[in-house]
């Protein structure tokens, strides 16, 4: 692979004994600025080079992406360490802070991090390795081609020629950066694809401070913010006289419809805020669940839809279909509820601002705070903390902006903490959506017409119009309609597809039943058609689809588990990965129960087997738990669930067993944080149908609307 000269910045160690290779993510940017940016004296806390090797042999790798539990802080360094060819035990991984000069995509979301960085990470490792080899070869007076590396050593062609990387650091750092590097061949991988434990495990297991909520800075005060109880309410006035009399309270200030109670300690603030008296004015139409039902009904009838995709002529085809199948599916709003509630630290001073906390998008936090406070971006420093989960919630920086605004008002360093109740009622939810599907079959039972309308509440386009089975069906019409609701929404793990896939995969099961076909064979037939004769634009690779389907059928012993095991199938493509699942239900004491799930995932190369399994199994449990149990409902704009006593999350005694298999085909890796979740709801609904002969149209499946479960 070619490296342009400019894409690397070599940091000749001014401090002798350290070789650092900074990776210039922006190939178009001039180097000068970047070199200036880099601290001439190596300060481990500030120096953001991508990798550095000390002459002790210790390798320090900087992980630029925010860690929310998706394992990126372990996965990225694995790739670099593999190409560098070092012993994993010599590697120390550090979280890099936000540095837009050095790193290009410091975002966690959309499962895109690894895909984006795969080539760059390999190149960073391979380039350093090549320079170390070159340094050794020169020292020995041999050809670099005749040298090899192993676990942090360069080994020469002649007897006794073996040097540790650490001993080559000085020489290597004086060499020119090679313009072309060769990568290891896949069969030589030692780290990639193995079971590598999380690099933060020790800190987690011993309770070291690392999360946003653990932030302690000198002079810091804490604050909580009282927001309007109902979506659609506006703060008119407030009386803080009693609050201010409470112990430990420093200040009470108001901004943007909110009242912040600032104090010395969390508990004092929690107590004092109860004394706050606020008066609100409401809009005339505060939304309740019944409002949303009405909107869904209207949205299903309106002709003001947006046509998202059209192949052939759906209306003509459905008119002459031998059989028509229709079904409607619906999901509620969901809270993200990461275990660590929202929080952020801000210290706003004239000319310099420090932000610290859990965000999936630090750069946009920096930008937004710059705009909010009218200061240049480069005066804002962002420290990344570990995150107690995100699930998409921390793609929205509302809580970071609050902290910055509050600090600018009270002129103190402040940590704003949301209580669980604040977190659950404070907005940014998975949007509620209703889908209507229609399919027309010809005499042979082939689907000749396929229709989907998605009606969402602040969901944007609630369809994914190019997803399979689109591409296999001659006449397709996909429409979306969006309602603007006062209830705020945002991306929630596997946005849109987290429920769309569930609805669609349930519907296709119904189609297969109506057509008298095996649901797996039906998909395979369609994919064969996509290969030979695709209809319109295709965004997926049919062969990869076929492979996960075939493997899951085999691994789950599809149709071969006997009469007491009821199976349900689903398969979905999202975030560039393919996941097929088979759920199993059994009747236990007269009740249907999901007991097992088998998943086969094609996410290309599996970087870390442990992390990959964690993501797939965690995604399935997430998908299963929310499909079964979770719902956020509204009454006059007020969220009706405020904490885990009423908002039900899945617990350890409610999980099915899960088997996670990987195709692991060596294709450049794709996302894993999300794609295992979407197929789960459908596989589960289909297995429960097989067990009970009752279709499930509404999530949560174990809610009162599906009372027989």
């Amino acid at each position: 692979m070619k490296t342009t000269r400019r894409s690397f910045i070599q940091k000749t160690a001014l401090l002798s004994g350290v070789f650092s290779l900074g990776f210039d993510w922006f190939e178009s940017k001039a180097n000068a600025g970047i070199i200036q940016q880099m601290n001439p004296v190596l300060d481990a806390n500030r120096f953001n080079a991508f990798l550095s090797i000390e002459n002790t042999g210790k390798v320090i790798l900087y992980s630029p992406n925010p860690e929310i539990g998706q394992g990126i802080k372990t996965a990225f360094p694995i790739v670099v360490a593999e190409e560098l060819d070092v012993d994993w035990k010599q590697v120390e991984v550090r979280q890099a802070n936000l540095d837009t000069q050095l790193f290009e995509r410091q975002v966690t979301g959309g499962s895109g991090a690894l895909k984006h960085s795969w080539e760059r990470l390999r190149k960073a490792g391979a380039t350093a390795r090549q320079m170390l080899v070159q340094a050794a070869a020169q020292q020995w007076g041999v050809d670099a081609i005749s040298c090899k590396t192993s676990k942090g050593f360069v080994i020469g062609p002649n007897k006794g020629q073996k040097l540790a990387y650490g001993a080559l650091v000085d020489a290597a750092s004086k060499l020119p950066v090679p313009s072309e590097v060769t990568y290891k061949s896949r069969s030589d991988y030692q780290l990639i694809g193995s079971f590598v434990k999380g690099v933060d495990n020790y800190k987690v297991l011993t309770g070291k401070p690392q999360y946003g909520l653990d932030t302690q800075k000198s002079g810091m005060v804490v604050a909580q913010i009282v927001r309007p109880p109902a979506f659609g309410s506006t703060l008119v006035s407030f009386d803080a006289a009693e609050v201010k009399k409470m112990p430990g309270i420093i200040d009470v200030v108001s901004f943007k419809n909110k009242v912040a109670v600032v104090g010395k300690s969390t508990w004092e603030v929690m107590q004092a805020r109860k004394k706050l008296v606020c008066s609100y004015s409401d809009t005339s139409n505060l939304e309740s669940d019944s409002t949303h039902q009405k909107w869904f009904d209207e949205g299903m009838k309106t002709d003001k839809v947006k046509v998202e995709r059209k192949d052939g002529d759906f209306h003509a085809a459905i008119a002459k279909a031998a059989k028509v199948i229709e079904a409607t599916y619906e999901c509620p709003f969901l809270s993200h509820t990461p275990m660590e509630p929202m929080n952020f630290f801000a210290d706003v001073r004239p000319g310099s601002i420090l932000l610290a906390g859990p965000t999936q998008v630090p750069q946009s936090a920096q930008k937004a705070v710059a705009t909010l406070l009218g200061v240049p971006e480069n005066t804002i420093q962002v420290e990344l903390t570990k995150m107690g989960g995100g699930f998409g919630r921390r793609l929205n920086n509302d809580y970071a902006l609050e902290a910055a605004e509050l600090s600018s008002i009270i002129k103190m360093p402040v940590k704003v903490m949301w209580t669980r109740e604040d977190d659950m009622t404070g907005g940014i939810y998975r949007p509620a959506v209703r889908y209507h599907f229609k399919a027309g079959l010809n005499e042979k039972g082939e689907m000749i017409a396929f229709y989907l309308r998605g009606v969402g509440l602040n969901a944007g386009n609630s369809t994914r119009q190019d997803n399979f089975p689109v591409g296999a069906i001659d006449n397709v019409l996909i429409e979306s309609f969006n309602y603007n609701s006062a209830i705020t929404t945002g991306p929630w793990r596997a946005p849109i597809t987290n429920f769309l896939a569930s609805a669609e995969q349930s519907f296709l099961d119904e189609v297969a039943a109506a057509a008298g076909k095996d649901p797996i064979q039906m998909r395979l037939d369609w994919l064969q058609k996509v290969k030979t004769n695709p209809v319109g634009k295709i965004t997926y690779e049919p062969d990869r689809f076929i492979e996960v389907i075939k493997q899951v059928a085999e691994k789950a012993k599809w149709g071969k588990k006997g009469a007491n095991v009821h199976q349900g199938f689903s398969v979905y493509f999202s975030h560039l990965s393919y996941v097929a699942q088979v759920a199993e239900a059994k009747i236990v004491d007269g009740e249907a129960k999901v007991t097992h799930l088998t998943a086969v995932t094609d996410c290309g190369e599996v970087i870390n087997r442990s992390g990959a399994e964690n993501q797939v199994i965690g995604g399935i449990i997430d998908g299963y738990g929310h499909a079964m149990f979770s719902k956020l409902s509204f009454d006059k704009g007020v969220p009706q669930q405020k904490n885990f006593d009423t908002y039900k999350l899945i617990r350890g005694n409610e999980i099915p067993t899960v088997e996670a298999h990987f195709v692991n085909n060596g294709i450049a890796p794709t996302g894993l944080g999300e794609p295992a979740l979407p197929p789960t709801g459908g596989a589960v609904a289909n297995a429960l149908f097989a067990a009970t002969k009752k279709r499930l149209y509404r999530q949560p499946f174990a809610g009162p609307d599906n009372a027989n479960l």
Partner: protein, 161 residues
């Protein structure tokens, strides 16, 4: 405000707080022991689990005045080198995802094993189901409790020899 003496992780400490303050916030805000986590504040999630004389407790609803002379153990005091069988098993099986719930999971698991050194699968599931893990690490949690029990019994029998 009251001056309260506590025995935490085998050390005597003194804090000046309102006696109603839950132990969780005394640990986190006043003693900089932030390993114990806040998840719900209403005894629903288990993130804040600590031991009081070896018994697992939800520190978010335990007023500091109720602690009295009881010895408090937090995740920081379990084993600083992460050598407790539960920590070893947790690492070996690579349980944590985001890690936020894990201090509570570990304190619950270690207390469970003290009472019941050889728990059955059902014992484990029942004993751990009070702790929520939003990342869904439940399978590895269950397996790790089992593994910890094996590690503990192996080291006990080698000590006896």
């Amino acid at each position: 405000m009251e001056s309260i003496e506590l025995l935490i992780n085998r050390k005597k400490v003194k804090v000046e707080v309102d006696s109603n303050t839950p132990l969780l916030w005394v640990l986190r805000d006043h003693l900089s022991l932030v390993g114990t986590k806040y998840g719900c504040g209403i005894a629903q999630c288990g993130a804040c689990t600590v031991w009081l004389d070896g018994e697992p407790m939800r520190s978010c609803v335990l007023p500091v005045s109720a602690v009295g002379k009881s010895a408090v153990t937090t995740i920081e005091g379990l084993n600083e080198k992460a050598e407790h069988p539960v920590q070893v098993a947790w690492d070996e099986l690579d349980v944590p995802q985001c890690g936020y719930c894990q201090a509570g999971q570990i304190m619950t698991a270690a207390a469970l094993l003290k009472k019941n050194p050889k728990p059955s699968h059902d014992d484990i599931v029942a004993g751990m189901s009070g702790n929520i893990c939003r990342c869904g690490t439940y399978h590895r949690i269950h397996n790790a409790v089992k593994r910890a029990s094996e590690i503990a019994s192996a080291s006990n029998s080698s000590k006896k020899k």
